[in-house]
Amino acid sequence: MKVLVAVKRVVDYNVKVRPKADGSGVDLANVKMSINPFCEIAVEEAVRLKEKGVATEIVAVTVGAQQSQEQLRTALALGADRAILVSTDETLEPLSIAKCLKAICDAESPDIILMGKQAIDGDNNQTGQMLAALMGIGQATFASELVIDGANASVTREVDGGLQTLTLSLPLIVTADLRLNEPRYASLPNIMKAKKKPLDNTTPADLGVDVTPRVTQLSVELPAERQAGIKVDDVAQLVDKLKNEAKVIS
């Protein structure tokens, strides 16, 4: 069984980004970049499927600039067998990424496609759902548990009210939520080995995909600042302030 994992290069989750001075975009100069945390969970799930003997091959794919090779190498160090970079400098949005991934899936015919539920840069939470639509296959988003049984999958999903369990037929798309697993760290020997694993390059044009954006970012700005607050001395003062100053309790 073949598993395809889609990973994205994003600003590290510890970084607090700021707009550029002219508001034309987010200032990403000299900022630490990482593999999107949800994609890391997706890679870990793929590796566990391989360790269980369910998966036989893991292909990691990303769409983005040449530097995204770093994140593909991370996926390879974590246990992916080979990688594909769909290389472009165009500003990418979920629909065009999904179209590139569809072209890769058409060629690779994976049984399971694992993705993150959300990329923490754009916070879109769209790409998995879009890829599932384009491929006409089932989707299990926000997954906290995945069990493969032959040609079917049982997936538990984190939903607003609690948990929901679905069964789906393969092939399917699973998008990982935080509780699906706890990703491992790549060991030094595996990081070295990853350097020798195959990494293929292609482009959206080679795949026949037009990635011209439909939604353009006109500007970015800081959110409204909160007024500085105060420290209260004790609970009595807190309750007094809430009652008589903020008037939020009676």
């Binding site: 700021r18 939470n125 769209q126 639509a133 989707q139 807190l238």
Partner: protein
């Protein structure tokens, strides 16, 4: 222009989250229609017909839509939505599951989590955990939009008298089936709709200690939330997580207890009107957004707080 809103409901009651999208639709302007897709859900359609400002309710009642499976509902939404200028839904886990799928079927780039409408094509939305707000403009003929509920007031649930039209033909993609649901039942208000929220973090120590929040929540009519760390540690269920990748809340009063204030948590609560933080570390980042900060051990402060209310 005409706007289709995909209703959030449980087949018997219209979820108030839908009312935030009706308000957003009002800012965009145009005829507002509500789609109620479900099974045995005519009561929801009746409620939707009374919502102020709604011109028409489309009722798609079929077993295929009973559990809001994305493969089925997205087909329906894409099919009906082709005749509209905008398709909206409020940012629930259901909407996030269905709307991007419908958008891709329509070959449209969806716009997630809008916090403001600039004009019919232009919207604001938080990105990077809300550290910046982007203004984006869509060139698609149909705009598929997920609306951040906390950014738009709920419109009146009554005062309208829309006609209800049945939608015929069902879309059953046959790709997935519903097995079960484990939904926490609580008498407390829903997290995203509550006027007061009190959340516990890793500092609570364990799940039993969350009982310290119960008495306070009872007295304040509050919903109880949590940080990711508290959920990951198994103190409380996943549906209580507030944050960038959990639920977004903006109550009149938010009380953060034993929560450090990581950007991912702040992303989910920093638009609250009044923020209180109780933390024993005076340098905890949560104090930078708190209107009232109390540096104290929560095990002393919580019983005192409850007694003082």
């Amino acid at each position: 222009m005409s706007i289709l809103i995909v209703a959030e409901h449980d087949n018997s009651t219209l979820n108030v989250a839908t009312l935030n999208s009706v308000t957003a639709a009002g800012v965009i302007g145009g005829d507002v229609h509500i789609l109620v897709a479900g099974h045995g859900c005519s009561a929801v359609a009746d409620q939707a017909a009374q919502v102020m400002g709604v011109a028409k309710v489309l009722l798609a009642d079929s077993a295929a839509y009973a559990h809001a499976l994305a493969e089925n509902v997205a087909l329906l939404v894409a099919n009906l939505g082709a005749g509209y200028s905008h398709i909206l839904a409020t940012s629930t886990s259901n909407a996030k599951n269905i709307m991007p799928r419908a958008a891709a079927l329509l070959d449209v780039q969806a716009i997630s989590d809008i916090s403001a409408v600039v004009d019919a094509d232009t919207f604001k939305r938080p990105i990077y955990a809300g550290n910046v707000i982007a203004t984006v403009k869509s060139s698609d003929a149909i705009k598929v939009i997920v609306v951040r509920g906390t950014a738009f007031d709920a419109c009146p649930a009554e005062g309208g008298a829309a006609a209800i039209e049945a939608v015929t033909g069902e879309h059953d993609a046959g790709k997935s089936s519903f097995v079960s649901e484990a939904v926490a039942k609580s008498d407390r208000p829903e997290l995203t709709a509550a006027e007061v929220v009190i959340s516990g973090g890793r500092g609570m120590g364990n799940g039993e200690n969350f009982a310290l929040l119960d008495g306070i929540a009872d007295k304040l009519g509050a919903a109880i939330g949590a940080s990711r760390a508290a959920v990951d540690a198994g103190f409380v269920p996943n549906d209580m997580q507030v944050g960038q990748t959990g639920k977004i809340v903006a109550p009149d009063l938010y009380v953060a207890v034993g929560i450090s204030g990581a950007i991912q948590h702040l992303a989910g609560m920093k638009d609250s009107k009044v923020i209180v933080a109780i933390n024993k570390d005076e340098d905890a980042p949560i104090f930078s957004v708190a209107d009232y900060g109390l540096v104290a051990d929560l095990f002393d402060a919580l019983p005192e707080f409850e007694a003082a209310l």
